[in-house]
């Protein structure tokens, strides 16, 4: 009984902080999502709207398009980040001269604030000033993210990969360092080739780490705002207006807090469903493979 009280006492500061910075704002956003709230409207306070915001949302083509765009961005960035991260982690586990230096330097993009990353990439890609359009023009590619929707999209993908792959690599490195050597040595003694070791020992043992990295990257990519905002401002047109940017435009310049909150809640719901489905599929696949 006493130990239980002590445990709750020790947990209390964490629970209080989590409640204040996580749970309370969430409940408030949920509450605002069921209201109309535009500070420059005739009635500037909260006006109960029931599910009207959500009803409007399911017909909002701009929002649905932004959600689809965000999903496409997430699929591109996260899949490349996972593969690259795994390869880099594998390489950085090998012993070679200067390994410590490379381990430190590859994580440098993580230390840069997203807004600065966006601004730096903006400088890199400005036509007539940036080196990227200059060199691509030299090899015959007309590169201009100001008017080419596809180029703008893939530039945001590239920037995000550049910024966040080190995070995946570091996560995998931590996981790899904790793996025991015995199963690998045993497999090699038994004559398993590199692919079999990778498929049947390495991947299953690293699965919890892969899942954590995957979910964190999916959540982060789906709600991206700052980097892309600095680089393209969501343009050209709506080519890079991902869902986070779309919500930002509704909440701040248009001051439609009720509708913006409903969009945020729906995005959260969407992220939860995607992660849960992924977890279920992966867990189910593992169980079926085991039986």
């Amino acid at each position: 009984m006493k130990s239980s009280k002590t445990a709750w006492g020790l947990l209390a500061p964490t629970l209080i902080i989590l409640g204040l910075v996580g749970l309370l704002p969430f409940i408030y956003v949920l509450y605002v999502g069921f209201h109309d709230w535009m500070i420059f409207a005739k009635v500037s306070g909260l006006v109960w709207a029931g599910v009207d915001n959500y009803r409007e949302l399911v017909f909002d083509e701009d929002f649905l398009a932004a959600l689809g765009r965000g999903l496409r961005f997430t699929i591109w960035t996260v899949s490349i980040q996972m593969v690259l991260g795994l390869l880099l982690a594998h390489l950085l586990m090998k012993k070679f001269k200067g390994r410590g230096f490379f381990r430190a330097i590859h994580a440098l993009p993580l230390t840069v604030a997203p807004l600065v990353v966006g601004a730096t990439w903006r400088l890199l890609t400005i036509p007539g000033l940036g080196p990227l359009p200059f060199y691509l023009n030299k090899i015959g590619i007309d590169y201009n993210i100001g008017w080419s929707a596809q180029q703008a999209f893939f530039t945001t993908v590239l920037m995000h990969i550049w910024h966040w792959t080190p995070f995946v690599t570091l996560t995998f490195l931590a996981g790899l360092s904790a793996l025991p050597k015995e199963p690998f040595e045993g497999a090699m003694v038994d004559g398993a080739n590199q692919w079999q070791i990778f498929r049947y020992i390495f991947l299953p043992m690293l699965k919890p780490v892969i899942l954590i990295a995957l979910f964190l990257r999916i959540m982060d990519a789906l709600r991206i705002v700052d980097e892309v905002w600095m680089l393209t401002g969501g343009g050209p047109g709506t080519a890079t207006r991902y869902v986070g940017i779309h919500i930002w435009r509704v909440v701040f310049p248009m001051t439609n807090y009720g509708y913006g909150s409903a969009m945020s809640v729906l995005l959260l719901y969407f992220i939860i469903v995607v992660c849960w489905l992924l977890l279920t599929v992966i867990t189910q696949a593992k169980r079926e493979a085991g039986t």
């Binding site: 599910v51 959500y54 009803r55 399911v58 017909f59 469903v273 849960w276």
Partner: protein, 67 residues
């Protein structure tokens, strides 16, 4: 004691997954929201949203009990 019992993992129901009560309620709530959103998009012009709420609540109960 009873609460502890119901939250224990048990033999998979019709969901064919190992779940505890919290998992099943979570799945029920996810389906509840999905049904309402799809209903508002495709059916609300002809059938009231209250019907969706009743169906969803029944589904939550069914999933929590036999899922």
């Amino acid at each position: 004691m009873e609460a502890k019992k119901t939250n224990k993992k048990r033999e998979p129901g019709f969901l064919r997954m190992e779940t505890n009560l919290f998992d099943r309620i979570f799945i029920g709530v996810v389906i509840f929201v999905a049904i309402h959103l799809l209903w508002m998009r495709f059916l609300e012009s002809s059938i009231s949203l209250t019907v969706a709420s009743i169906i969803s609540l029944v589904l939550i109960f069914v999933i929590a009990k036999w899922g």
